[in-house]
Every structure is written in structure tokens, then in C-alpha cells.
Amino acid sequence: MSAEEDEADVARVLAGDVSAFETIVRRWQHPLVNLAYRFCRDRGRAEDMAQEAFLRAYRSLASWRRDAAFSTWLFALATNLYRSEIRRLPPLSAPLDEGVATLDRRAAELIVPIVDEEQRDRVIRRAVLALPPKYRDVLTLFYFHGKDIAASAASLGVPQGTVKARLSRGRDILRSKLPKLLGN
């Protein structure tokens, strides 16, 4: 995925060639759908959210200033949208915003006998959704971006130090609640 290709396609779209946007969608569909999936854990909803993100990107394409990469702009736009979508309609297993107390309460409800490692990992990833949003968002973005602090900070629009602090606190909360969640 090259920045030059993005720039050329955006220029074509802005010049009136709507079909050039298809190239952008093809190039970025995979990451955008996957990022949405990590926020909602629902394949159908992830595609709906990603579609809305592309539509918003199309509408505000002219507002992309070339001082940041197109991908940075696109991820920030999508992240904003996904966060507000999740706030509007929380995913199945995520609370609205009740913080750690909710995680405690729900941990008791979510106890399942862990059969294998894959199942345990799934429970752990799903538990991220139950974290307070500021930790949930950072953890989601950090692992989505392949543990890249700078990319996560750019997507969230917060300083890198904030990402590091929230990451550490989020991991601590998660680790302290997991024994209960995993039925250990």
C-alpha cells in the first residue's frame, strides 16, 4: 500500500472521478473491516461500520491535508466513527461505561469452563470490550496497529504518553480480572 497511490486516487476522486474511490475501498477494506470487528466482535456490524467509515471518508476527502499519510487520516476518521457507534449501541458483551465495577460484575456472569487456549484467548479479547472505553480503545488500537504506539496515538488523536499510560493501566485491569473471568 503506497502513499503515492492513495494520493493519486484521492486526487482523481476530488477531480470528479467517483470510480477511483473503488480502488481506495479495495485497498483499505481489509484493515477497516478488521478494526471495526475488534470494536464490536460482530462480522455483519463490522462491515456496516466500515461502510459508513468509507462513506464519511468520501464525503470529507477534501478535508484531508497532506501533512499526514492518507492511512493515518482514514484510521483516525474510522476510529472516531467506531467509538461513537459503540457508544451509541454497545456490542453484545460490552457495558456502556460503568468502568471496572461492571467488569467485576460481568466477570462473574461470563465464567466459562476453558477448554483450550484458543477459547481462552477469545474470552480475553472479548473482555477488552468490557473495559472502560479509554482503556478499551487504546488496547484495541495498539494491537490492531501491531503494537505501534505512534500509530495508535495518531488514530486516537491523543499524545503517545497517554497511550502508554492507558495501555499499562488497561492491561493491569484486564490481568486482575481475568482469573475470575477464566474461572481460575
Partner: protein, 117 residues
């Protein structure tokens, strides 16, 4: 407690999902619909009384006899409007507080009704 490495591995080793085959087409349908949609028509039916009033005002300013018009007494006008405005502002504030309290009540109720898995 689960150690850091185990947690890292669980969170980092997530396999990706593949968008469905119709995803690009679906997005492009929405984009093309957006691009070809006619712009919202200007609401002339609602705007014309205001437009007409504005034109009349302009005409009266342009051609009205200014000589006959007395200089407005802004102080008298201010003295007259303040008691009226005070009552109106108090009413508006009361309504704002009532609406805010009601909105908070509804939001809390909705939140309490949300069921978690």
C-alpha cells in the same frame, strides 16, 4: 494472575476476518448514490415570507422618508424591554433545567435497562 506474556500473546495473536465478497460493491453503491443525489432543494415555501419581509425592509430603508422618522430613544426602549426579558429569560432557564433533568432521567433509565451478556 495471568502473566504479561500470556496476555500479550492472547491480544496480539488475533486472526483477521475477510470482508465479504459484496462489500466493495455495497460501499460503492452507497458512494455513487451519495455522489449522484441531487442537492437538497432550498425550502422556498418556508423562506419566502422572510425573504419578502427583508425586501420590504430594504425598500423602506432605501425609499422611506428618513426626515420624518424620529431618532429612536434606545434608553426608553431598554427600560421597557428589560422587565419583559427578565421574565422571559427566567422562563427559558426554568424550561432548560426541566428538560436537562428529564434528559438525564431518561438516559439513566435507558442505561439501567441495558442488559449485558
Amino acid at each position: 494472575m495471568m502473566n504479561q506474556e500470556e496476555l500479550e500473546r492472547a491480544l496480539a495473536n488475533e486472526s483477521d476476518i475477510v470482508p465479504s465478497s459484496g462489500f466493495v460493491a455495497s460501499v460503492m453503491d452507497a458512494v455513487v448514490a451519495e455522489a449522484t443525489a441531487p442537492p437538497l432543494p432550498f425550502p422556498w415555501k418556508r423562506a419566502w415570507p422572510f425573504a419578502a419581509g427583508f425586501v420590504v425592509l430594504l425598500l423602506s430603508l432605501a425609499f422611506g422618508s428618513h426626515a420624518a422618522t424620529p431618532v429612536p430613544d434606545f434608553y426608553a426602549w431598554f427600560k421597557m424591554i428589560v422587565p419583559m426579558a427578565t421574565g422571559w429569560v427566567a422562563g427559558a432557564l426554568a424550561m432548560t433545567f426541566a428538560l436537562t433533568a428529564w434528559s438525564l432521567y431518561v438516559a439513566v433509565r435507558l442505561k439501567a435497562d441495558t442488559t449485558y451478556v
